[in-house]
């Protein structure tokens, strides 16, 4: 299954099922009205950016970054970092040592 079918698949407008799936990946809770509006807007934008399909890039490598830099390392020497208090200073909920969040696991049947 090459890129061919994906290109033509990509040019079709988005369905609200597509958008709902993307919202779930993006960790965004969208209401019904928002979902409907977003479907229309995203379809329009995706249709617009699809014009890039016109450009012949068969001989062109991707350019992720404008600089020619390769891996930039530093010496593995410990340095000053945030204290626990600093790291927790903006936490919505904490116990002085850790950030507190709602249950991480779903239906795990934990004892």
């Amino acid at each position: 299954m090459g890129t061919e079918s994906r290109t033509s698949a990509a040019a079709r407008p988005l369905s609200s099922a597509d958008v709902a799936k993307v919202a779930s990946l993006a960790r965004l809770a969208l209401g019904d009205a928002e979902l409907a509006r977003m479907t229309g807007e995203l379809s329009k934008i995706v249709g617009f950016v699809s014009m890039l399909g016109e450009v012949d890039t068969s001989a062109t490598a991707p350019l992720a970054h404008p600089l020619d830099t390769q891996n930039v390392f530093r010496d593995d020497v410990p340095a000053e970092s945030l204290t626990t208090a600093q790291a927790l200073q903006s936490a919505p909920r904490h116990d002085g040592e850790c950030f507190l969040v709602p249950a991480v696991l779903g239906d795990s049947g934990a004892a």
Partner: protein
């Protein structure tokens, strides 16, 4: 001696000579902010006491003969996208309302060491996404030249505050034009340096391969002064260049004889406002009269700049903004609007936790934690931010990555190559920075795509990673500023600043100011 009327260069000299104290200077600008900000909304946060205390400290050190930094006493406004440990940093978003970072951005630390006096944090489009400063969660910014119009964006607050004399210098950020376009619409000078010239550490990231911080001021000379402080290598930013920083202010006074400036015929297509076109052609004429030569040059893939940018930037943003999830800082919401379903404190109440899990699952979330992520983000982010996160997530998802994101990266290489090819025959590329002068607030807010097109002349610079400067080259009949843009090869900031400075010695568009506080020029 009126601090509000002096350039940053003259102000720093006056402060050094003792013609004005740092406290007098800070007071003048803080008073101006108090009088003008209600109508303009350029500032989200002003700390008068802290600024005056800092200024007093600088005055005391100077009186005692102790050394002070090169910008000692200069008031500076900071776009609220820059981390400041002693002031809130909100990115104009509900997501970060009241947030105080635990550290200063590198640029902020450098300016502090130089003894600049921060007057406040400026308004912006939320998370730097926008071209009009209408995407702020804390109200739009009004263009000082006409309060019914937008100042441009996303550094709209920074541009407006300089245009309205609320600060001599502001720091902005530019990902697709967000320094240069508002500078153009507000009649001031703004520089986006070559990618990597200024450290991005502490710049709240939008698109990491495109973002750059830069100065916004009334003149190229003022921008040059600030660049000497903010540019340079930072080991805390692995994309920051190690190339030595030139003494930009020493390099300004050079003639333009023999400098070749490119003019791109495609820039003058339909859609470019005729008054803007006229202003831009007149700017070319001024540069020619100053000794430069103007040559036609082509950027064959320029028309693909917007779609390329509006794939790469949202894709990078979808990754960069994933961190805002309510867990460690920022806005947290655990239950649907009106409900309240927070996790039980550690160590207690297993039944409550189980009930929370069940309720979350019933609402379609994998776990209460994921529900928290989804609700916090849905509430914390505004519509444009959500739109771009969604677009980026879609374009990166399995099955679409090649057709969209990877494709855009290939076109990006072609766009960069266009610039490198053009710079074989010219030293600079000149042209419009915006297709229109400042548009009315509300004019483009119903059509996201129409808003994206305001970046038409500026996105190529960021995609290619090169530098660009915009400065005023005239006014429309109705008194709105017209901006001119110069773009240059990597690390040619000295040439950009020289050319803009030479233009500003021959014209006085950059000296014009809107009418007094509360009025826009008719």
């Amino acid at each position: 001696m009126q601090p509000l009327e002096l350039s940053a260069v003259d102000l720093v000299a006056a402060l050094r000579q003792g013609d004005v104290t740092a406290v007098q200077c800070a007071t003048a600008f803080l008073d101006r902010i108090e009088a003008t900000n209600p109508a303009i909304n350029a500032f989200l946060h002003v700390d008068r006491e802290a600024a005056l205390s800092r200024a007093a400290d600088i005055d005391a050190r100077r009186r005692a003969g102790k050394p002070v930094g090169p910008l000692a006493g200069l008031p500076v406004a900071l776009k609220d996208v820059l981390c400041t440990a002693d002031m809130p940093t909100t990115c104009a978003s509900k997501m970060l309302a009241g947030y105080r970072p635990p550290y200063d951005a590198d640029v902020v630390a450098r300016l502090r060491r130089a003894d600049a006096v921060f007057v406040g944090k400026t308004n912006m489009d939320e998370f730097a996404m926008g071209g009009s400063n209408e995407n702020s969660a804390f109200g739009p910014v009004h263009n000082p030249w006409d309060h019914s119009r937008a100042p441009g964006g996303s550094s709209g607050g920074s541009a407006a505050c300089v245009a309205a004399d609320m600060a001599p210098v502001a720091i902005g950020s530019d990902t697709g034009g967000s320094i240069r376009q508002p500078a153009g619409l507000c009649g001031i000078t703004g520089l986006k340096p070559t990618y990597g010239r200024v450290s991005r550490r502490g710049l709240i990231a939008f698109a990491s391969s495109l973002d750059q911080i830069g100065p916004m001021a009334r003149s190229a000379a003022d921008c040059a002064l600030v660049m000497e402080t903010i540019a340079g290598h930072d080991p805390g930013d692995s994309t920051s260049l190690t190339t030595e920083v030139p003494r930009y202010t020493d390099l300004l006074d050079k003639p333009l004889t023999g400098v070749r400036i490119g003019r791109v015929p495609e820039h003058f297509a339909a859609g470019l406002d005729p008054e803007v076109a006229k202003g831009v052609e007149e700017a070319f004429a001024v540069l020619k009269a100053a000794g430069a030569t103007v040559h036609d040059v082509r950027l064959p893939h320029a028309k693909y700049g917007i779609p390329t940018y509006y794939l790469i930037a949202p894709c990078e943003a979808s990754s960069n903004l994933a961190r805002y999830d309510g867990a460690h800082y920022g806005h947290r919401e655990t239950a649907p609007a009106g409900g309240h379903r927070e996790t039980a404190p550690a160590g207690g109440h297993r039944e409550t936790a189980l009930a929370a899990r069940a309720a979350g699952a019933a609402a379609g979330f994998e776990s209460p934690l994921v529900e928290m992520y989804c609700r916090s983000r849905a509430e914390g982010f505004g519509p444009e931010v959500k739109r771009r996160i969604m677009l980026g997530t879609y374009a990166l998802s399995a099955g679409y990555y090649d057709a969209y994101y990877a494709k855009a990266l290939r076109v990006r290489r072609l766009i960069r190559q266009d610039y490198l090819d053009a710079f074989q025959t010219v030293d600079l590329i000149g042209g419009p920075v915006s297709a229109t002068p400042a548009f009315k607030l509300g004019e483009k807010t119903d059509d996201p795509l129409a808003m994206y097109l305001v970046d038409l002349y500026t996105v190529g610079t960021n995609l290619a990673g090169v530098g660009g400067i915009s400065f005023p080259c005239g006014f429309t009949k109705s008194g709105l500023p017209i901006g001119f843009q110069l773009q240059a090869p990597p690390l040619a900031e000295p040439l950009l600043l020289q050319a803009a400075d030479r233009f500003q010695r021959l014209t006085d568009w950059h000296r014009r100011r809107p009418k007094a506080a509360g009025e826009g020029r008719a």
